[in-house]
């Protein structure tokens, strides 16, 4: 490309005008408008009236995903055309790193909620300490345990028995997902899922070693295995066995595992795309495979989140 050999700097590639941002905006705004309308129809309006909201949502989402797809396509093409200097690649690395950091903070909010509820709120509701005075007034008879199998509302005899502080109906959790409640360790799915996800991080690493050696066969094989393991994980995770209105236990459980599952889905899709790029397009070389690297970082991140989840949601 540009002959910059005589100077010590490289030219930073600033793309020309681009329609990507505007298209992505249209898609995103339509999809959130649609999603919010669907939810409002369900909760505040007539649940049968959601058709047009669904149309807006699906069109918006489709347009959004299509834009993202072509965005990444263009970025990949630019890289293959040799437009990306080492400096620009560092920008991508930094971008990915800080994006993952922001995701960490997103999960941090939900873990924070879990810890707060388990260590402080639960005992307070059950009457412990100064803050526990409300127990006698509102939640007489509520006993706290984790997993919380009976909500304060139920402890006082249902929503009708305690009209002041009630807003919704929160039923007992039918199942505890905790290890202690499992019949036998080998029948306890979360354990198997942990093994599956940890293994997939490992296979992902082997794939990375493969591409670093320039060994495409090894890369494709192990990356394919990684993607497959990710899919198995998701299928197993789909068997929640808990309902969301099962009080705070169900809430925290769902929020954490649900968002984690969604992130596994994203990570798996990213890896799948890298797999297809390598198998079909012959992309990636030993010293240039950032698309794969970024996806693998994301995958390891998802894996680490799972380890915390396993520890704090399932075991402890």
């Amino acid at each position: 490309m540009t002959s910059q050999t005589s100077t010590e700097y490289e030219k930073y590639y600033v793309p020309e005008k681009s329609k990507l941002a505007v298209c992505a905006t249209i898609g995103l705004v339509l999809s959130i408008y649609g999603a919010a309308s669907i939810m409002n129809d369900m909760t505040f309006g007539d649940p049968n009236e959601t058709t047009s909201s669904w149309t807006i949502f699906i069109c918006g989402l489709f347009f959004f995903l299509a834009t993202l797809f072509s965005w990444f396509r263009i970025a990949i093409k630019e890289n293959i055309a040799g437009m990306n200097s080492a400096q620009l690649k560092r920008s991508y690395v930094l971008g990915m790193f800080w994006f993952i950091f922001s995701e960490v903070m997103f999960f941090f909010a939900f873990f924070g909620a879990l810890f707060y509820v388990r260590t402080l709120v639960g005992p307070w509701l059950a009457g412990e300490g100064d803050a526990g005075r409300m127990n006698g007034l509102l939640w007489e008879g509520f006993e706290f345990s984790w997993p919380m199998m009976q909500t304060p509302q139920e402890a006082v005899g249902g929503a009708a028995a305690q009209p002041i502080a009630n807003n919704g109906s929160f039923t007992s959790a039918e199942t505890s997902m905790a290890f202690a409640s499992a019949h036998a360790w080998y029948a306890w799915l979360p354990l198997w899922n942990t093994i599956i996800l940890l293994t997939s991080s490992f296979t992902c690493h082997i794939a990375h070693m493969g591409i670093l050696d320039g060994n495409r066969k090894k890369f494709n094989l192990w990356l394919g295995i990684t993607v497959a393991l990710g899919m198995i994980f998701l299928v197993v995770q789909a068997h929640f066995g808990l309902t969301m209105n099962a009080g705070i236990y169900g809430s925290t459980f769902f929020m954490l595992t649900g968002f984690h599952g969604f992130h596994v889905l994203m990570g798996m899709t990213m890896l799948l795309i890298q797999f297809l790029r390598s198998v079909r397009g012959g992309h990636f070389t030993a010293d240039d495979h950032f698309g794969f690297e970024a996806s693998s970082w994301y995958w390891h991140f998802v894996d680490v989140v799972w380890v915390f989840l396993f520890l704090f949601v399932y075991i402890l």
């Binding site: 030219k11 793309p15 005008k17 929160f170 009080g247």
Partner: protein, 526 residues
């Protein structure tokens, strides 16, 4: 590859499809000004209603929608985007970079803002009205008792967060990766430093805000009980999550403002900034401390005493690095060859009034006293001293200071000075009396009040209209400058100005520093 030495494209496409940091900066600035006007309009409704006791113009439900939207629009629509716009314009020019690190994403982070605010404003016309639960949207007001439009509010906040995160990632990548050779970290202008640290804060806390609104969404529509004691949750949990975001957020707002005055005061004192290194360390300490003080907004919710004490002392600690900064600005002026052009006047206004706001902050940080001040007009006075006289004054100073560099024309100095004095008087007339009514017990967020507060409230309202009107003068001055201001061609514009952006031609060309500038290793920071 295409020739890069072209000018901007023509027509609307230039703005829609641009990847140029200056275009994007300009759009951010105009957008934030539009939001400033919109939020100001809401404020005028509030002050008109409060001009006299009794119900005058609007009904209480609408009044609450006004306070809510006023806060949201000003914080997320006016102040934050205005500093992002400034960052876009200035950071590449200050560190000798050709553009921002990720230009297309840059454009996207801007363009998702206008439709999102349109969506937010449109909630005014929805069934049940706009959100009316205050800009801090405490549960259960924002969950159990919220109007249906809350769902749109929640998704808007998600998108605003997305915009801020992308903008911040871009700034971090630019500063870490695009500095010209020789531009070491400790040579960066302070504005760049404060923005780098702000960007870290944003990436860390915006996702937490997203988490908070997500939990609200689940509670409202999907039967979870995060914020409901009946299911084993806790409404106070909302406040913890919100303020874990919210307190760093106030520093997100003020740190870039610190950066701006740290550029302007040295220029008009014709002296380098006093204590550059300590400024950097103070900024970093403030950022760190801002993560461990959030519950000073919650002294009255019934925290355990150990919590009250911890958050009280941690909050007071922030006064130390803040004091370092004020000390440094004053020392910069000490024995300087001062002159008082408009940017300097606004910076001095900032210095005096922000310090006052810091002092009321210290008063509020004392937990036992806060039981008296909390949720009174005293708090309103406090945060307007730091956010309006702090952030908005410094932003105004920035516009006057860099406008000639941006458009190659000089603004009208006497009109600028008039704008300053009217703003200064209007602002103080509005918010100074609020300290007194607050201490005397007038609660915030109410459309009516007891008779004895009438005089001070009338003053406040008159002051607010004066301050509001002075912004029209500002708008006029800016437009007149761009269209027909006296051309300037001096690179430096201000004889005391230092830094790479002042080595560029005036007006700054469309593309700058396509080849990195040489930076004299012996030269101190700018």
């Amino acid at each position: 590859m295409g020739d890069h030495h072209h000018g901007p494209a023509k027509g609307l496409g230039r703005w829609l499809f641009t990847t140029n940091h200056k275009d994007i900066g300009t759009m951010y600035l105009w957008f934030s000004f539009a939001m400033f006007i919109l939020g100001g309009f809401f404020a005028m409704v509030i002050r008109a209603e409060l001009f006299q006791p009794g119900m005058q113009l609007v009904d209480p439900a609408f009044f609450n929608q006004m306070t809510t939207l006023h806060g949201l629009v000003m914080v997320f629509g006016a102040i934050m985007p205005s500093f992002v716009g400034l960052a876009n314009w200035l950071i590449p020019m200050m560190i000798g970079a050709p553009d921002m690190a990720l230009p297309r994403m840059n454009n996207w982070s801007f363009w998702i803002l206008p439709p999102t605010f349109l969506l937010l404003a449109s909630t005014l016309f929805m069934e049940g009205g706009a959100p009316a639960f205050g800009w801090t949207f405490y549960a259960p007001l924002s969950t159990t008792y919220a109007p249906p439009s809350v769902t749109f509010f929640i998704f808007s906040v998600h998108v605003l967060g997305l915009s801020s995160i992308m903008g911040s990632i871009n700034i971090i990548a630019t500063v870490m990766n695009m500095r010209a050779p020789g531009m070491t970290y400790m040579k960066m202008p302070l504005f760049v430093w404060t923005w780098l640290i702000t960007a870290f804060l944003l990436v860390a806390v915006m996702p937490v805000l997203a988490g908070a609104v997500t939990m609200m969404l689940m509670d409202i529509h999907f039967g979870t009980s995060f914020f409901s004691a009946a299911g084993g949750g806790d409404p106070v949990l909302f406040q913890h999550v919100f303020w874990f975001f919210g307190h760093p957020e106030v520093y997100i707002i003020i740190l870039p403002a610190f950066g701006v005055v740290s550029q302007i005061i040295p220029a008009f004192s014709r002296k380098p900034l006093f204590g550059y290194d300590s400024m950097v360390y103070a900024t970093a300490s403030i950022a760190f401390l801002s993560f461990i003080v959030w519950a000073h907004h919650m002294y009255t919710v019934g925290m355990p005493i150990a919590g009250e004490l911890f958050f009280m002392y941690a909050t007071m600690l922030i006064a130390v690095p803040t004091g370092v900064k004020v000390f440094n600005w004053v020392s910069t002026m000490w024995r300087g060859a001062l002159s008082f052009e408009t940017p300097m006047l606004f910076s001095l206004g900032f210095l005096v009034l922000f310090t006052l706001g810091g002092f009321t902050g210290l008063m509020l940080s004392i937990a036992p006293s806060d039981f008296q001040y909390h949720d009174s007009y005293f708090v309103v006075a406090h945060f307007h001293y730091v956010m309006v006289a702090g952030a908005v004054f410094s932003m105004t100073a920035a516009v006057y200071y860099w406008l000639p560099k941006w458009c190659g024309r000089m603004y009208n100095e006497s009109m600028g000075k008039t704008h300053f004095w009217i703003s200064f008087i209007g602002f103080n007339l509005t918010f100074f009396p609020q300290h007194f009514v607050g201490l005397a017990g007038m609660p915030r967020r109410i459309p009516d009040y007891a008779l004895q507060f009438t005089d001070f409230n009338m003053m406040s309202s008159v002051g607010a209209f004066i301050y509001g009107a002075s912004q029209i003068l500002f708008l006029y001055n800016v437009i007149a400058t761009i269209v027909a201001g006296k051309p300037v061609s001096d690179e430096k514009v201000w004889d005391g100005a230092e830094g790479l952006e002042w080595t560029l031609p005036t007006p700054a060309p469309y593309h700058t520093f396509e080849t990195p500038p040489k930076i004299d290793p012996a030269h101190a920071h700018s």
